[in-house]
Symmetry: C2
Subunit: 156 residues, 2 copies
Amino acid sequence: MAGAVEWMRLALDLAVRNVEAGGGPFAALVLNDGRKIAEGVNSVTRDNDPTAHAEVMAIRAACRQMGTFRLSGCQLVTTCEPCPMCLGAIYWARLDRVYYAANQQDATESGFDDSLIYQELANPPSRRRIPLIAIEGVDARAPFTAWQRHQSRTLY
Amino acid sequence: MAGAVEWMRLALDLAVRNVEAGGGPFAALVLNDGRKIAEGVNSVTRDNDPTAHAEVMAIRAACRQMGTFRLSGCQLVTTCEPCPMCLGAIYWARLDRVYYAANQQDATESGFDDSLIYQELANPPSRRRIPLIAIEGVDARAPFTAWQRHQSRTLY
């Protein structure tokens, strides 16, 4: 994409400024038709929100801006290769493509290590460090049954 | 855990009521010391926020409640096995354990299919459907350098 380098420089500047403002060293932009429609910075510690990664914040801001929960046709520019949580958010948002600058190794060397999470997701649930325990003896499908009956449901 | 079945029934009720209120068929609770400290429901379509899964909403609410970005010592009760985004959030939040009722197959049969995302995360980036493109020719480490120099940074 023409301009990706320039957009990335803007994102990197935003990340540097976020550090100076007390945030984490990450920023992201959402582009649509070659224009920036939203930006996000890491505010995990400032907002006491472990999900406030730059990519999640940019996706949420772009969806607010566009009045939709899908960003098909949009691109994400992020200063660092996304962690599994953010990659999941990118798939749910149906972004077209992702540009990144720093890679996972750069992040690890700076103390932001998400390799454990990538490993854990690759492990079967029974071998993960955070136990995932199935509860028996409940009507687990009740919400789905209600959903199937609900007339005005919005599929996504 | 004593009471997990009862907490799950509460979460399932919350999910059914969320469907009736126009939300998605998912709910989650965060427990601490055997007490519920927060709850969350899927509000993706209502809030136009693709990250507004029940687990993410419950984690964010619990962190606000506790004034922290870490939920060590807490448990998550979720009506459905978490998707990769939510599993990532669970790791970042450092929850102790997760109880779930419906499994991925139940969700898929109801039209909520996250198996693609699990497959995609297992693929190497070059073989994923949403291209992840590294940008060269920028100072990718500038935010990390700023971070290393920043005196009051909070590690997490």
